[in-house]
């Protein structure tokens, strides 16, 4: 959990707004540190978390989580965290083996044109479980869905429309029906000249930006590579005050450390001052 980011977003583990769809989009850089932040944030605030870790293995997330102060293995044992390890489950689908049972959620690998219906059903069942659990256990907060990352689904052959449908169904289930939160990571290659190359991820980014309520857009510095400033982050809120949608944008620069990330206004990096 990055304390500076909490103050930027005006949230804390004790009080955060519900029903939010937070989209983390990255262009030519790596914004997975924000996913680690949100994972540790929601685990600290005692929410029931469903995490689709498609990009990396479980040990990677739990090692980073330990540096940020949460233990993923403990959360899994207590039932607070439902973790889908995409890499491990995908092997049983990609290489057909008879004796190993496969997780239904990764069925789309066999035939990507089918869509993400089974993945959505996995999410729905794990999220609804938290609501229906009455006896025993502990009282958890609202359900939270975290996805890392949606662009992996695109490179596995799923169509953009299927990913947008999946995101919409999850939003309807998690954010609207159960008043939980959702955080998704998506990547876009910024190639302004070649329009035909990257239509898929650009269309996905546009569609998801339309659906989300808070967009954290991370990209590299426009002036080039710098060791002390790793990139720029744009925070766009979409708030409705009355009938008027109000768009507020803030720009920060950041640097990722071993145990966190520091955010500062443009030009205020400690390396410069």
């Amino acid at each position: 959990m990055f304390t500076e980011l909490n103050s930027i977003l005006n949230t804390s583990p004790d009080s955060f707004s519900r029903g939010e769809y937070i989209l983390v989009s990255e262009t030519n850089t790596d914004a997975s540190f924000l996913i680690h932040h949100f994972l540790s944030f929601y685990l600290r605030s005692r929410c029931r978390v469903c995490f689709l870790g498609l990009a990396q293995s479980f040990c990677h997330y739990s090692a980073v989580g330990q540096r940020l102060g949460v233990s993923l293995t403990q959360a899994k044992e207590k039932g607070q965290l439902v973790f889908l390890e995409g890499l491990k489950e995908s092997l049983s689908v990609l290489i057909q083996q008879e004796n190993i049972p496969e997780n239904e959620a990764m069925n789309f690998l066999r035939n990507p044109s089918v869509g993400l219906k089974s993945l959505y059903e996995f999410v729905y069942s794990s999220v609804m479980d938290s609501v229906c659990m009455e006896e025993g256990g502990e009282e958890w907060g609202p359900p939270v869905l975290l996805v890392d990352d949606l662009s992996v689904l695109l490179s596995l052959g799923v169509h953009v429309g299927a990913v947008l449908d999946f995101s919409h169904y999850c939003r309807a289930a998690v954010c609207s029906k159960l008043q939980g939160n959702m955080v998704m990571l998506v990547r876009c290659n910024a190639e302004e000249e070649e329009d035909e190359g990257d239509e898929g991820s650009k269309a996905l980014l546009r569609g998801l930006t339309h659906q989300c309520s808070l967009n954290l857009h991370v990209h590299g510095l426009p002036t080039g590579y710098c060791k002390d400033i790793h990139g720029q982050m744009e925070v766009c809120w979409k708030r409705r005050q009355g009938d008027v949608p109000h768009l507020q944008t803030n720009l920060f620069q950041y640097k990722v450390h071993d145990k966190g990330a520091s955010f500062f206004a443009r030009g205020m990096s400690s390396a410069v001052l």
């Binding site: 293995s57 990677h60 090692a63 990257d198």
Partner: protein
């Protein structure tokens, strides 16, 4: 030997020790030491050497076990193939097992061309010499005047011992000797043996056949982390040559809009899944200059952990450019991973050039030579000529010498 229970899931979360000294700390949990590996100083990950010491330095000390290094080939596939051969030769020297997959030529062709290691501490099986008997005091006194204590020990090692050094140097003008090569275990995958090139299934199945074969090797030879720990573990080095080329049944390199654009990316995803759950490391070369779709290259790069690109000067106008005369090509670091930590170890400089010397593949920061303009030297030559002609025969005082 049993590793700590909670560290079974991934190699990079194991803390491993290399036996560099004979002093062994008494610990309750025995740590595994695999020859040819060392833990990283930054985050304790298990690293292997790529065979090129300057590339090891760029990647943060070495290649982490369980990761993929993507090398974007240069135009004639000369230097990327060289790095692949260095990687495989390092595996032979460190007694790791090798898995080589090619579609163009037989894997044995690559294995025949491995460079010879420069041996000073790599022991090779030699016939055992009889230790000198103490009944020949005259000779032994002449032989060792200072280290007389060791004169009764055998002079050569009689068994193959793996080198304790991390990273070796190779002489590219010689190929590896037969006896060193025989000692290593190779697994081969030659695509025409598995899938006939003209069949309909070729397009779809070549990558899945490769993935299946790799998984079989991993499970059969015991590299899988899920299998119970035996007394000795080893590393599997996987070399995949020219993935994505047309010979793998993929039309990524042929068309602007490939028909099955996610076959290679799905394979790379499966490769990452296999590597994360076993003690293996992979080097993949890819002819990226043939792929038109930059966005596809971006997603391929994201699915590999480390990525570098080579651009050689051969055949281009830069070969004769005096600015680049010290180097053979440029090297770009496209991606550096961050495994088990938030921040990655970014390289200090992004303008790197490489040079292949006989005994070393060196990667350096590109230094442009100082700009000595030609007018400086011409004036000095002209002045000398003017002085010479004034003292010599009657010249008209012109600065140009006629020969």
């Amino acid at each position: 030997m049993a590793a700590p229970m909670n560290n079974v899931c991934k190699p990079s979360s194991e803390r491993l020790q290399v036996n560099t000294t004979s002093f062994q700390k008494k610990t309750r949990s025995k740590l595994i030491s695999i020859p040819g590996t060392r833990p990283s100083v930054q985050n304790g990950q298990l690293l292997v050497s790529t065979g090129v010491t300057s590339l090891d330095y760029l990647l943060g000390g070495g290649l982490a076990v369980g990761t993929v290094l993507l090398i974007e080939e240069d135009r004639y596939d000369s230097y990327s193939r060289m790095i692949l051969k260095y990687f495989l030769a390092e595996g032979v020297v460190c007694r790791h097992e090798l898995f080589v997959a090619t579609a163009q030529e037989s894997p044995d062709d690559i294995l025949q061309e491995l460079p010879a290691p420069i041996l000073d501490d790599v022991a090779v099986a030699k016939p055992v010499e009889q230790p000198r008997l103490s009944g020949e005091p005259q000779d032994s006194l002449d032989a060792m005047k200072i280290a007389w204590r060791y004169q009764n020990l055998p002079k050569v090692q009689s068994a193959l011992a793996s080198s304790s050094r991390f990273g070796h140097y190779y002489d590219v003008s010689k190929t590896m000797e037969e006896e060193i090569r025989q000692a290593a275990t190779f697994h081969r995958f030659y695509l025409p043996d598995h899938v006939t090139p003209s069949s309909e299934a070729h397009r779809v199945e070549s990558y899945s056949a490769l993935l299946k074969s790799l998984q079989e090797v991993i499970q059969r030879e015991g590299f899988d982390l899920a299998t119970p720990m035996s007394k000795s573990r080893n590393i599997l080095r996987v070399g995949l040559h020219s993935l994505g080329s047309a010979l793998w049944g993929d039309d990524l390199c042929c068309h602007d809009k490939p028909s099955n654009s996610h076959a290679l990316t799905t394979f790379l995803y499966g490769l990452r899944a296999l590597l994360r759950s076993s003690l293996s490391v992979a080097v993949v070369t890819l002819p990226s200059h043939l792929i038109q779709d930059r966005a596809l290259m971006g997603s391929i790069t994201r699915l590999c952990d480390n990525a570098i690109a080579l651009e050689s000067f051969k055949g281009s106008e830069r070969e004769t450019n005096p600015l680049y005369k010290d180097y053979h090509g440029l090297l770009y670091v496209r991606q550096v991973p961050h495994l088990n930590c938030l921040a990655s170890q970014l390289p200090d400089h992004k303008d790197l050039a490489f040079k292949l010397k006989r005994k070393q593949f060196s990667i350096e920061r590109l230094h442009l030579p100082p700009d000595l303009s030609e007018t400086v030297s011409r004036v000095s030559r002209g002045e000398l000529a003017g002085v010479a002609s004034a003292c010599g025969s009657s010249a008209s005082g012109n600065k140009n010498l006629d020969f």
